[in-house]
């Protein structure tokens, strides 16, 4: 029984560490580009807020 549990836990440890490393590389590369895109979209909002400050004062 102990052997069975330890095999299961070893597989879990290896899989979780390996997939996490892979995810870090994949996510890390694309995430910086996506952050730039997000910031440029947010810049549109800030420009709009500067040009129409009255929108921020409308009650919602």
């Amino acid at each position: 029984m102990m052997q069975l549990w330890m095999t299961l836990w070893t597989i879990l440890l290896v899989v979780s560490c390996g997939t996490f490393l892979g995810m870090m590389v994949l996510v890390g590369r694309g995430a910086v580009r996506e952050l730039r895109e997000t910031l440029s979209e947010l810049k549109e909002d800030t420009r709009e807020a500067r040009e129409h400050p009255e929108i921020l004062d409308q009650e919602i």
């Binding site: 102990m2 879990l12 979780s16 996490f20 994949l26 890390g28 996506e34 909002d45 709009e48």
Partner: protein, 521 residues
Amino acid sequence: MNLYQTNFTQVDSVIVVVYLLGSLVIGIWANRYVGNLSDYLVAGRTLRIRLALASMTGTEFGLVTFMYMSELGFLQQFAALYLGVLEGVAVLTVGLTGFLVYRLRQTEVMTVPEYYQRRFSPGVRVVGGTMMVLSGVLNMGLFLKAGSQFITAISGLQDEMYLKWIMTGLLLLVLFYTVLGGMVSVVITDLIQFFVLGVGMVVVTGFVVYNIGLDGFQHVVTQYAGCYDPTDSVNRSATLLPAATQQGIGYKTIFQMAAIIGSASLLWPPMASRTLAVQSSEVAQRLYRFSPIPLLARNVIPIIWGIAAYYYFATNDGFREALSAALADESVQTWSAMPLYLSKVIPTGCIGLVTAGMVAAFMSTHDSYLLCWSGVITQDILGPLFGPFSQRTRILITRIGILAIGAVLLTWGLWYELSSNLWNYMAVTGTVYLAGALPVVAGGLYWKRASTAGAYFALLGGLTGLLAMDPSIAMLKKLGLTVSGADITLLAFAVSAGGFVAGSLLWPNRKATPGRDETTN
């Protein structure tokens, strides 16, 4: 033997301070990207899959997570890994089926209580928001203390005053950049923290495996009475370390954790806020399909560190005696075993990087949680009660809310004394919200007869979970009622679900609720 012997030097302090100052600068810089309320609360709903995943990873890998998971690894060894399995399976199931999250994102709400109003009534929103904030702030209550104890243990600072000053300093730093930049600041810092934390985790895991060796992990079970079977209700390792209780995990605890982790993976507010901040329902479901990877790692990796700490103290007589003495006089708690171990095996320079990674984990969780709860106070409690407010006023209230929650956290962290393990505290406080939210949201989305009365019963039923907190259990014991936290947690879920069904059947809604969600089919 000095338990606080450490490899942490001034070089490491400099690394940590530089990192903290960098975060501060980014927080100030992010403020320029906040144009309106949506930008402040959900980053304008502009997050794409990778950025959302990095941000969610940053949030879910809190320093408190490392502390409670490594504490479980230290106390229950391999058997504690069942939590990773439960979370991985729960999140993957949601990712594959889209259960709940797909429809919830389709409603275009910014917070979960906003959904309560659409589906039920403004009153349900206020009650639901209040329960969420109560549960969330209690849940966060020991984050500061756990984070500060990590830093004091790893850096060898023993004075109680250091603990208090570190708690205050860390909190002020997070408050500063979160108040200024909102979700924009949170996402940018989360991404940086994702990298710093990731490198720190790889470094620590490498040193830990090198230090005890693969044979050492095997010996934990074969020679040092380590637990490996979560269904076993006896903790064998208690014979070696008196800090561990005799009681093992067992089936009842597994059911308790399945209920909590299953509902938290769907509706825990910081996680749900990422779901609601992504571009579309499809992205929300994809986020869940990939999330089991980081979520599994956040359980498994700290547990490995905890198991290594167990092995280190079990095989080193001098340090084991010093630790046992410190645990007996309560100058140290079991959650400090992992940082005390790391402080001895990770070399100077690397330990600074690791500490910066852990401080990153601390901040990335705090900022998201602070923003989430104060957003709920503004949008779901004060807005419906005293609104309407302008966007400008709402941002101001949210900022004040962040500061107020910060003050509560500092007070609670200094005052509350934990008598069970840290994970139990997190699970029990989370139950107060989760037990009520699960039937209300799931029932609201999938059951036509779900009614406002049922929603009230379910949400208030979650309060039963407060009885599972340590002081309540002690009080019940004095009254002659011996119950465990697991019993009460399961009772809270049953009371809420039962109350929801009974309330909906006995007091159905008389007419269609205005603004009722169109996805309810």
